[in-house]
Assembly symmetry: C2
Homo-oligomer: 504 residues x 2
């Protein structure tokens, strides 16, 4: 057990600093002091300080046409409490390559208009509550060939909405940005809030509930992916719709990126999960073609590049180690679950679920292939994994496919070395990857695997030279980062295999 899993300690992976979690959820004093700084300003409370909420808070604190007082709120847990403290202590909890993050945060520090807390009392001050908490899908454990089970538990999400309802003003606007099963705003959020208000003896006719999903991309355009991008929105009634639109216009550059209003919140919620299902599906579609290419002595990368010349086919995907991130791995399941559980259909979304399952099995395929090439066992092999994050050139490890691959290697008894230039700390595994490529390549391995397509591994002559100097080993490129010349050069000494590329 590591220190940060202790219940009353929350450790910042950014600074290493440890915070004791307060025993009482009371921060009235802090909230009131913050409010006193901003008399007359509208108050926006952002619920959830994760990858979306913490940065959404920044964007609202730097709104375009209004001066808001922003309160970010999250739970006093080991995973989240350090973020609250960090925001208030002048260190932004998200590390990203986007320089605007720091610029916006410094602005907010100067204006003192972004406060973070764990006390639900904050909701009582809110004119707008933006819901940016997670809504997770629980998948079954990754036993071989049985990755298809999953469950959706709305309990934590409902509790979070209750916390708003038990404290909010009767005329608050609750804007859901969380990716939810279609139907949630109308069938779950609004009824819970109305019930809470009624229990408190308050009228429900002034309540406003809407949905507008974010399209946040952590990385160099982090802020722009919120502020300078198209938004889709709807309200649960006309009053709500108008309120959502009014709010979004104050924070998003709607002159350049016009808002899209849909007929109802079921439609906006469906749009979000459909967007991501489309992408997940397009990846899954390529998996079997990638195998076919290997069998037919074809290089799928050159085939896909040829196809991408067509404007209608630009987004055809490439194979890889697997699919990661918070969205593509679960959104199709949320949708399928909603179809059956919120709209009473007897049919699931078969194709979309299948897509997720195919993607989930990709790391297992890579592992089994390696195993089959080593007489069925990798026990005791020294393995270097180049890349830990799920996406090129960012340090995001949420649901990274490298995790499933790593787990298999660990179960098998491999001695694993990790490298990633962007991942300082691998939270989910409590591991600290090495950052020095030349250092990790200074020792021999049985197997070297390219597990993420970072720029650092592409056209990197020094890396290729280093690998060439190592004793003969297996080099497995699961992403297609190597050029033909590099493959040829490495093959003089090593055994080189590329997913989606047959022996030409």
């Amino acid at each position: 057990m590591t220190t940060d899993t202790l219940k009353n300690i929350s450790k910042s992976p950014v600074t290493g600093k440890e915070y004791e979690i307060p025993s009482s959820p009371d921060d009235k004093k802090g909230i009131d002091a913050f409010m006193a700084l901003h008399p007359g300003k509208k108050v926006v409370v952002v619920q959830g300080l994760g990858f979306v909420g913490s940065v959404m808070g920044l964007v609202v604190a730097n709104a375009l046409t209004e001066e808001y007082a922003v309160i970010g709120i999250d739970l006093p847990t080991p995973q989240s409490y350090w973020k609250i403290r960090s925001i208030n202590e002048g260190i932004f909890p998200v590390i990203a390559s986007d320089p605007k993050i720091d610029e916006y945060y410094q602005n907010a520090l100067q204006k003192r208009n972004y406060y973070a807390t764990f006390d639900s009392h904050a909701y009582s001050k809110a004119d707008v509550v933006v819901v940016d908490i997670n809504l997770d899908v629980k998948k079954q454990s990754s036993e071989k060939n049985d990755l298809e089970g999953y469950s959706v538990d709305l309990t934590p999400f409902k509790k979070a909405i209750e916390a708003i309802g038990n404290n909010c003003k009767e005329d608050v606007l609750v804007l859901v940005e969380t990716t939810v099963p279609p139907g949630t705003s109308q069938k779950i959020v609004r009824p819970i809030l109305e019930e809470c208000l009624s229990k408190r003896g308050l009228p429900t006719d002034k309540l406003k509930v809407g949905h507008s999903y974010e399209r946040v991309m952590p990385g160099p355009k982090y802020i722009d992916s919120i502020q300078n991008f198209y938004r889709v929105f709807a309200g649960t009634d006309d009053k709500s719709t108008a309120a959502v639109e009014k709010f979004l216009r104050t924070v998003i550059r709607t002159d350049e990126y016009p808002l899209t209003r849909l007929g109802n919140t079921n439609a906006t919620e469906m749009a979000k999960v459909l967007e991501n299902s489309f992408r997940a599906m397009n990846i899954a579609f390529m998996v079997e073609w990638s195998r076919f290419a290997e069998e037919a002595g074809v290089d799928i990368y050159e085939v896909v590049n040829a196809i991408r010349m067509r404007p209608t086919h630009k987004n055809i995907m490439l194979p890889g180690l697997g699919v990661g991130g918070y969205c593509l791995t679960k959104d199709p399941l949320l949708a399928s679950w909603a179809r059956m559980n919120l709209f009473g259909s007897e049919e699931k979304l078969h194709q979309s679920e299948k897509g997720v399952h195919i993607n989930d099995k990709m790391p297992l395929y890579a592992f089994e292939y390696l195993q089959s090439q080593h007489k069925g066992s990798l026990e005791g092999k020294k393995v270097l994994l180049l890349g830990v994050s799920y996406l090129n050139d960012v340090g995001d490890t949420r649901y990274t496919p490298v995790e499933g691959f790593y787990d298999q290697l660990e179960i098998e008894g491999c001695e694993i070395t990790l490298h990633d230039p962007h991942v300082k700390y691998w939270e989910e595994k409590d591991l600290w990857p090495n950052h020095q490529l030349s250092e990790v390549l200074g020792q021999p391995y049985d197997i070297i695997v390219i597990t993420t397509g970072h720029k650092d591994y592409r056209n990197n002559t020094a890396m290729i030279e280093k690998i060439k100097q190592l004793p003969a080993c297996w080099v497995y490129d699961t992403i297609g980062v190597f050029s033909n010349d590099e493959i040829k050069s490495l093959s003089e000494k090593h055994t080189v295999k590329v997913i989606g590329r047959g022996d030409l």
Copy 2:
């Protein structure tokens, strides 16, 4: 039985003229007379005078940097013989909205450099043979819920290649443009040609075989889709590759649309079927989402339009009556068949096959939905189908999904009226659709179905007014051509349903 199914008659659907099919396949005189007109010119024989070959012939006859003598060749069958005669008599057999077709044909007539024949003797004159014949997949009969069987019979294709091999020069370039199962050029075409040459006592080392697939789109940019578009190519050996490239540079505007050379013909053949499988899959993917939208009271069209704002999601598809045309309906199956039968894999391309099956069932879904809304029977109903072709604004009926839908209505005992502004003659059904929208809307129906998304049916106020004047009936929009206002207006009198659009 209709006249054009008589074995010795071939009737032109363009002019109505009937031709007697010659009993002997001898056209030496005609070929020699044509050759005498073009001494010293290189001869290109285009095998197959269908939607691709007849127009490819035109493009080669109007090559950019070389003067070719072009011979188009097809079989003397009721389906094809009229095309041969038509080309030689000054009437181009393909009707298309592209004015360049006529321009190119008039040029060729003036230069007298495009001759058509049915005599294999033509191959003996060829420097280049371009293979543009069909290679079909036979699907099982459309019994309900069992549309998943199919077979690939290469016999006619092999015979066509043999006809070349039995006549060609030893140094001919055979360029396959037909969409073939990956592996065909290397494993089938080249061996057949070599065997034929050997039998004729000729050496095989000068033979050149390559593959470069077309991306022809019948319609207003027909010629451009051949001459002004990206091409992918490869040869079965270096000599072949060089010859293919040299030939393509003379006919295609490669300065603006650079050629893409792939590693081998397996790769180019795979690229073509992968392109089309990608599209077929993206359509199939939307089918279940379209149903979900109906259940959730969502308008899938507005959802998809919102998603298309994202550059990475521009090509997300819309639901419809089904999928038609010569490519998307079969190419994924060709690929899957090749994986198992030419490369010995034990796995088919499951996802891609499934996509085709889902698409094939779409017209059946539309039929069954209509049936369910009419107490389980449509017997004796007067039904108007607006649109016969498979694609908006063109007159192409090959594998149109309207056919399966029509067949079901016919079996059920409906009285069907057909309208299509672009289809003069529906060859596959031997039917002549009405062209006058105001005329077909001058009588009452029980059911009016939008079956193709032609422009003529969009924002057509006169059409909406005409329908409003008819007695109350069912209006079923399977494509989403009606606007919200039109739906509202029609709903005052009629029952209006749109595929992919719930009751809002």
